[in-house]
């Protein structure tokens, strides 16, 4: 297989993917010290983040354009460490969600978040493994995406995206210093839909 490859084209493609996902990236403050990341999951104000990011205090959300909102916690799932927040905003740039079930080991992924407070920091790597981990809760186990992207505190709740810029997971945990674990988008979408289903009909 031989074809010409323009390295600048590759760099431009990366920069363009990074630029687009950044608009759907939020900072989630937990009301006390520290902050994590979040993803605009729906344009009508739904934000997904890790539960451990909002475990203490009242969350606030800052969007990429600088607007800041108090957030209401709609649902929490400690077993898979997810939380669904709502902010009073409309027409937000929702992130494109990709189907994590099509992932393959070796595929390129990028993480974006706020490691050590550095806003919208991009790191790249590949899918290192697709495995099942034991969880404490009703499920007993859950699928996770292992990747070799570099994560640090502040990446939690931020998106793991594929080469087309679609969200394939939520970066959740670092194991052993260099194994990054993300909750697959398929599981996140299920959590969001279940939360919305339970909420529908209930008074706002």
């Amino acid at each position: 297989m031989s074809r010409t490859l323009n390295p600048n084209e590759l760099s431009d493609a990366l920069a363009s993917v990074a630029g687009r996902i950044r608009r759907s990236l939020a900072v989630v403050h937990n009301g006390r010290r520290g902050a994590g990341a979040g993803v605009v999951w729906r344009s009508d104000g739904l934000i997904v983040t890790n539960n451990h990011v909002i475990a203490h205090g009242k969350p606030r959300v800052t969007l990429d354009d600088g607007r800041e909102y108090p957030a209401r916690i709609l649902a929490q799932d400690t077993e898979i460490d997810l939380a669904l927040l709502h902010i009073e905003a409309k027409d937000l740039p929702a992130a494109p969600i990709a189907d994590s079930r099509g992932l393959r080991v070796g595929q390129m992924v990028m993480a974006i978040g706020h490691p050590w407070g550095q806003r919208a920091c991009l790191t790249t790597g590949i899918v290192s493994g697709l495995s099942q981990v034991e969880t404490r809760g009703q499920r007993g186990s859950a699928p996770v995406i292992r990747s070799d992207v570099r994560l640090a505190p502040g990446n939690s709740g931020g998106p793991l995206i594929n080469a087309s810029g679609g969200v394939v997971g939520i970066n959740t945990m670092i194991v052993g210093g260099d194994i990054s674990l993300a909750i697959p988008s398929q599981l996140v979408e299920g959590f969001v839909q279940q939360a919305l289903g339970e909420l529908s009909g209930a008074p706002a």
Binding site: M1, L5, E9, L10, D12, A13, L14, S16, V17, R104, V105, G106, Q107, M108, G125, I126, V127, S128, G129, L130, S131, Q132, R146, D148, N162, A163, S164, G165, G176, D178, I179
Partner: protein, 302 residues
């Protein structure tokens, strides 16, 4: 998908293809008490792995990518290069393909491993450096090795480092340099495997001397008829050794073996290969300032 990401998606899919192709030849090797390690099939029934992960000679279990488990026996080990060759109880593996070109610094590579039954694992990096020669202990000398920044996850020892097309560039191991990971080049690894297959071990030559590098004076170089700034002063000759039997003496300055100049202990080690074992070999020394050639039948290192 917009146009500008096509190239990224193509790269992404190419890397996944590489992981899948080489992953089919990457096996789980269970031959130690702690977590299993990895191995690379080089033929349907032969598997290369890291020597240090083969803690036992019997009851070696292999897990194939399709989930089936089978036994394997030890063909041989080479602690010097930290490689071991295993034979599967039946020919059931998919053989890996070795890269045809030598590795280059900057090349994109994937490190692969199969340390558990949860599927193939991979990490991405580049070839960071080519190093060597380095002594690896127990008489081993690696002429060249590869360093990569791909993360060596636990259980990756014995697994392959592959190029962007899934061809094996080398075998990863953390057993050679105090736990830091390095990669044995595929060419050497395949060669070691071939020797282990034929002889069950890697033969290394044995001379039986202790030596230290010393300067060779200008006058002595003139007597040798070549430029050679240093040689090896023999400070000990083991009684009954090939060196002793051949007539080498303490005080001789060893300057060449088989007409190859020797100026430091690593060069001596590199020349004492399996090929010279048992062969009468010309050893050139400076004795009393004058060149002399003494024939020594090289022995085999135990």
């Amino acid at each position: 998908m917009s146009n500008d990401t096509n190239i990224l998606a193509a790269l992404s899919d190419a890397m996944a293809d590489a992981a899948e192709k080489a992953g089919a030849a990457t096996l789980l090797v269970s031959a130690r008490r702690r977590m299993p390690a990895s191995g690379v099939a080089i033929s349907p029934n032969l598997v290369l792995t890291a020597e240090h992960v083969v803690e036992r000679d019997d009851d070696i279990r292999i897990l194939l990518p399709n989930g089936s488990e089978l036994g394997a026996s030890l063909v041989g080990r080479d602690p010097g290069s930290d490689l071991a060759l295993l034979r599967l109880e039946r020919a059931a593996a998919v053989a890996a393909q070795a890269a045809s070109r030598p590795a280059r610094v900057g090349q994109i590579v994937l490190a692969l491993g199969r340390p558990d039954s949860g599927g193939i694992q991979a990490s991405l990096g580049v070839i960071s450096a080519m190093g060597g020669p380095v002594r690896t202990g127990r008489g081993g000398l690696l002429e060249q090795y590869i360093r990569t920044d791909a993360i060596p996850y636990p259980g990756f020892s014995g697994g392959p480092l592959v190029d962007a097309e899934g061809r094996v560039v080398g075998i990863n191991t953390s057993g050679l340099s105090r736990g830091a990971s390095l990669t044995i080049q595929a060419e050497l690894a395949w060669k070691v495997a071939e020797t282990l297959k034929q002889h069950g071990r890697i033969r290394r030559g044995f001379l039986g001397v202790r030596s230290q590098p010393v300067e060779v004076s200008v006058t002595q170089q003139a007597a040798l008829g070549r430029e050679q700034a240093s040689g090896l002063l023999l400070v000990g000759v083991e009684r009954g050794s090939p060196a002793d039997s051949g007539g080498l003496l303490v005080g001789d300055i060893l300057v060449a073996i088989n007409s190859q100049p020797v100026s430091d202990p690593d060069e001596l080690l590199a020349l004492l290969t399996g090929e010279v074992v048992g062969k009468p070999t010309p050893v050139q020394v400076l004795r009393g300032g004058q060149p002399a050639t003494i024939t020594v039948t090289i022995g085999e290192r135990a």
